[in-house]
Every structure is written in C-alpha cells, then in structure tokens.
Amino acid sequence: MKVKIKFFAILRERAGAGEITKEIREGCTVGELWQALKQEYPKLAPVEMRLLYAVNKNYVGADHVLKERDEVVFVPPVSGG
C-alpha cells in the first residue's frame, strides 16, 4: 500500500523534496517508516533532533500503524512565534 509523505523545513531541504509517495508493507508504523526513509535518503540519517509524527494532520506516537493513502509528516522541532 502507498502513503504520502510531506517534508517541511530542515527535512525538506535534507530530503531534496517536499512530497513523495512511498510503498509500505501492511502494519508498518510511522516510526518504522522513518527508519526506512533514513536508509533511502542518507541525508536524513544525521538528523538527530527530536521529531514528532503527524498522520492526517494529527500528532501520533511512533507506534501508530499506517493505512493506505495516509498523509505522513515528520515534524522537526517547531519554532513559530
């Protein structure tokens, strides 16, 4: 199944893309997806900052299981204001 991943800010620059689609296996968690992305995009690997995970515009934990066509965002430390 496929999910949509959007990158913002420092992750967008490191990934070199704002949005990608990725094939994942059934039962894949958002945390596992991040680990897989770090393999695929080596420039993401050195990112050691604390990330939050958002699925379909809601914050979720790393063990959240993804579904077909979910929109996944890895949220670097926010700095609005």
Binding site: F8, I10, P46, A54, K57, V73, P76, S79, G81
Partner: protein, 143 residues
C-alpha cells in the same frame, strides 16, 4: 480566526474580529522580527508551515484557551514566507469580560504556538542561515 498568511498581518482586522459587546478588555500580542539573535546579525526570518495542520492546531489552542479562561473571542494569524526586521510574524487578539482572563489566554496562546504548531523559522543572518530549534548540528551555511 485562526490562519497562516503570506501577507502582512493587519492588527486592526484581528481587533475588529474579537470585538464583542460582552467584552471589557481586548489584549493583543505582536511578535516582531528583531535584528539580532544569540550574537548573530539577523537579516530576516523566513517562516514555513504545514498550513492545514498549523491552522487546525491554532484553532485547537483557541478551544483550549476557551476551556481554561472566561474569554469571548480569540484570533491568531501567523505569517509565513520572508518577514523583514520590525515586521510582525504573529498577532494574537483576545477579548474577555475582564482583563486578567484576556492577558492569561493571550500569554498561553503564544507559549503554546512555540511548542506545538507546525511552523518553522529559518534565520537568515550575516554569514549564513539556520533553522531555529534544530541547532543540534552545525548551522547550514550558504554555499
């Protein structure tokens, strides 16, 4: 009114939005871009948002503030894109029957924005640029 915008934020628009016959106080907060940060000479800030989620989170903050304090109306507008020195990056307006609730809800909103709303600022300074909040590694310098 909870939104992100690429345009200059209009304080009067927010004040008009929260104006309410039941209110005895309106408190506003304006976050502005300053020309220095941690010893760096700042040229401008460049904000990026996950806009749909940012607006949703701003609205959630507004709901939370309504639960905690006796306020009438709240408006938060955050700018994205480049923001020059002295220009507002965020404006919050809150109306309440009494000033204490308006002050506290306004303070709560700006503190929470800095914790949970998916908006990021890149500082453009003399000699480089840096995503604020991610200073675990080396600053990204312009090549």
């Amino acid at each position: 009114m909870f939104r992100v915008t690429r345009k200059t934020i209009d304080l009067q628009e927010l004040v008009a939005f929260v104006t309410d016959p039941a209110a005895g106080a309106i408190v506003t907060f304006i976050g502005t871009t300053r020309d220095n940060n941690e010893g760096r000479k700042v040229i401008a800030l460049d904000y990026e948002a996950y806009p749909e989620m940012a607006e949703k989170e701003l609205a959630r903050l507004g709901e939370e503030a309504k639960k905690r304090w006796n306020i009438e109306r709240m408006a938060i507008v955050h700018r994205i894109g480049p923001v020059q020195i002295t220009e507002p990056s965020v404006i919050i307006a809150v109306s309440a029957a009494h000033r204490a609730d308006a002050f506290e809800a306004c303070r709560f909103a700006i503190e929470e924005i800095k914790k949970s709303v998916p908006i990021w600022k890149k500082e453009l300074f003399k000699g480089g640029e840096l995503w604020i909040g991610t200073q675990s590694g080396q600053p990204l310098t312009r090549s």
